[in-house]
Symmetry: C3
Subunit: 148 residues, 3 copies
């Protein structure tokens, strides 16, 4: 069974590396701008990096749920590619935000778009699965009956 999820697991591991990298960047920014914990304010440069990481933390569980739902109910391979695109968009977001307020926007928009796609794929796959399970309505079967 684990084999059906191995690509999802690979992308999930990568996503952990990214989250850890973001957390580490905040630590480095603390040293650079001399903001000792527990303080989280004092320098706009630090605050942007901190906000970028916080935002990534907030979006991370949403990404994981959509990613695994799409991967389990729709298709592992396509979902994994979309997952990689999402991680790249978050990289753009983080590095852009660290540089300037406006720099956060392109990566953010791409990330949101990927989440919408993962949501749509999950929604269609789950609806199909539920139709089959609860109403015994199998779309694949119906179509194959139309073309005997």
């Amino acid at each position: 069974m684990a084999k059906d999820y191995v690509l999802l697991a690979v992308v999930s591991l990568l996503s952990v590396v990214q989250q850890a990298h973001f957390a580490k960047q905040v630590g480095s920014a603390r040293k650079k701008y001399k903001i000792a914990p527990p303080s989280v304010t004092g320098s706009p440069d630090f605050e942007r990096i901190f906000r970028a990481q916080q935002n990534s933390v907030e979006f991370y569980p949403m990404f994981l749920v959509l990613f695994w739902t799409s991967g389990m109910f729709f298709n592992q391979e396509i979902t994994s590619i979309l997952g990689l695109v999402y991680l790249f968009s978050r990289h753009m977001y983080f590095t852009g935000y660290a540089e300037s307020m406006k720099g956060r926007i392109p990566g953010f928009k791409i990330g949101i778009a990927v989440l919408f796609i993962l949501f749509g794929l999950s929604f269609v796959a789950i609806t199909t699965c539920m139709m089959d399970e609860y109403f015994d309505f199998n779309i694949a079967k119906k179509i194959s009956k139309l073309f005997p």
Copy 2:
């Protein structure tokens, strides 16, 4: 196998929609109260909305773990209904908190109650599963032996 989890997946998708909605409300409040990112202070109205979302972010992984554990080890249908009640309680919490400090309390309490129930159901189901697996003690079998 995916069919055993389809209702859990539906509620999980809904929960993502809610988390995304909360994040969006913070964005709208930023515009309304003119709090430009990365700042997160400056208006008590904005700060309440921001705290409501932050609290929801903090509770989200705990909810997901209890929800899926209960759904996998106890029962999918009952767990899914409890999940919907939790999402509703979080909606109450968020809208209540956005209006006033006291407004956050009813929704919060209902949410905590649901999490306790999900924990209790998971605990019982997991204990039963472990008794069977590691001590070969099958409660269902023992009971059926008592009434031959």
Copy 3:
């Protein structure tokens, strides 16, 4: 199937109890140091406890992903023990941080070490699984052929 994950589920339930405990500590600290929500500043003692909890919230999804990946692809029992060590390290971190800035360091370092180990185990197990799945390269088989 659920039986293959029952120990992972036990440790996951424990981790939820810990996260809930941390959140409750912040609530108690609010009362003790008279920091009414939505404010999160005003007393260094409160701020350390708040930061300790925030940091635990940030690390929680990363832990869950590595823990379940290692548990599913590598080995349930060893992963569960590592999970317990992680929870203990987080307990050290939180109580240490609540007392002083320096107090957070030992627990933090142990936690990071456990996450690295879980990552390493997941990485090896997933690579092995992928070799077998996509390149039909089964390490166990190759080794057994070397020693017929």
